[in-house]
Symmetry: C2
Subunit: 332 residues, 2 copies
Amino acid sequence: MTAVMPAGVETARDLVGPAVAAAVGRLSPEVRTVAAYHLGLDGGGGTGKALRPALALLSARAAGAAPDRGVPAAVAVELVHNFSLLHDDIMDGDTERRHRPTAWTVHGVGAAILAGDALLALAQDILLEDSAAQGVWAARCLSAAVLRLIAGQGADLAFEQRDDVTLAECQTMAGDKTAALMACACSIGAIHVGAAPGLAMGLAGFGAHAGQAFQLTDDLLGIWGAPEVTGKPVRADLRARKKSLPVVAALTSGSAAGEELAGLLAQPGELTEDDLARGARLVEEAGGKSWTENEAADQLAAAEKCLNETGMPDDVRAEFAGIAEFITARQW
Amino acid sequence: MTAVMPAGVETARDLVGPAVAAAVGRLSPEVRTVAAYHLGLDGGGGTGKALRPALALLSARAAGAAPDRGVPAAVAVELVHNFSLLHDDIMDGDTERRHRPTAWTVHGVGAAILAGDALLALAQDILLEDSAAQGVWAARCLSAAVLRLIAGQGADLAFEQRDDVTLAECQTMAGDKTAALMACACSIGAIHVGAAPGLAMGLAGFGAHAGQAFQLTDDLLGIWGAPEVTGKPVRADLRARKKSLPVVAALTSGSAAGEELAGLLAQPGELTEDDLARGARLVEEAGGKSWTENEAADQLAAAEKCLNETGMPDDVRAEFAGIAEFITARQW
């Protein structure tokens, strides 16, 4: 495995970035300012990973179309992804993203809600500019993913109030919150250029498994990631007492370390740095880290199986596989 | 003029209400609970005015279609309206709506943001279930209105930080925030059943003027409305120091009362009940109330002119006119 960014991700940024900027340019000045800040279009901070746009462009190529045919779909997916980040940062109280303060901390909660709303509305509008039947199918693919994403975030919020979350519930939540949009990214480009249902479904299956692997890796980084690389505070997920997959795997492990972890997370008040370090050790001792690593490897294997069973040009398949491997080996 | 609810509004509630409930039933349990609370589907509170659904049903009938053909468009508009209410209540810090606590005060800011997001995504999804070309046009009509609605709310929020808002800026803001969705409601039903562009544009013009009249009336009620009828706290807009149309008309009147009002609104801390009563008197003395009443009458006349110049069955035209008159004569 390699942690080097696949070339397609950089290419996607070059191809899709200007189109995202043009879309945001259509917003009214007050809303545009906040959206541009969040997206790093004002020149500050990072500009995000461009993973989903890269997948959407590949998706169009999988159906035999030129990469630029996938641009509207890639823009729409990237806008939806950022809609959810803007709103999630408010809900989760996150204060840092892409190495700078989150939009709501700088521009206020109201303005950040509104900027998220605008990106969601823009995403649909861009797909509908193509009024052919495939534009509608692409728009429905996206709205189905958005509804699952919202369901997943709703479950995630509800989990914070519960101490009996099962690992299965947690996996379903990750499937909704992360994998659904990834599945959409991997298939929407093909759908938007009129691909056959078999190809679209194979790509969606690949994206769903790769998306699960992505979330599992994200959850590992949420505890063990280096803040200077992830752009988030150290042990951010433990600090927020998030019911992430490694944490729930540990809590439901039936081990002494799992019980001790439950006690630690149940204590009132903010967790100290010492608490957080101990928490991370307990998740590991209870097997939460290794379970998550194994599950990520299984999901990666399942993604690759889908990929190999779906007909597409070899170079496209190789690029999809490269991104999937990168997802689980990345440091951010 | 009469303040009796036109029959069409009640009919719309009967026809569209179950379809709205069915749409909300598609959401995940956590998100559905909050959306149902906001919409009053849990049996508590009021269920809202059903004005926009009534307009959307009439819009389909204007194009010669049976009223039930307008239901998807009516549901979509009603969902978008409630998406904006859910989010606006958070942004404006409003604690009461439809005679009970707002959703964010009961379920939390995060859950209320998500419920709003879900209603917006659902609205688009419902229109796209009809993959014929007119479904796409209807969806684009809606997303254009949503983007203007967001622009208007963005301007409204920005106005709070400014003391130099002009009356023209305020009217543009109201056009975006309220009239755009009303124009959409009045034309989307016709668009969705494949009406000719001339009819759709005439209906949109009617809706834009009726929407301005609606906002002007809403702003009057925001200061002089009876709380037991409006379901909002007394003088809510003054309390929130909202740059509403009567307030800005007073502030920019060049009168002594206008200057005194500016001083009152600039004082730090919460305004007392006495301050609020004095504020309302000052808006009136500065001519802000009469300007708003006259402007509402002018917009109503312009709406009626659009209506009379657009070809449609006489009974439909009469119902549209009845709703427009009701809008400006209502007490809530």
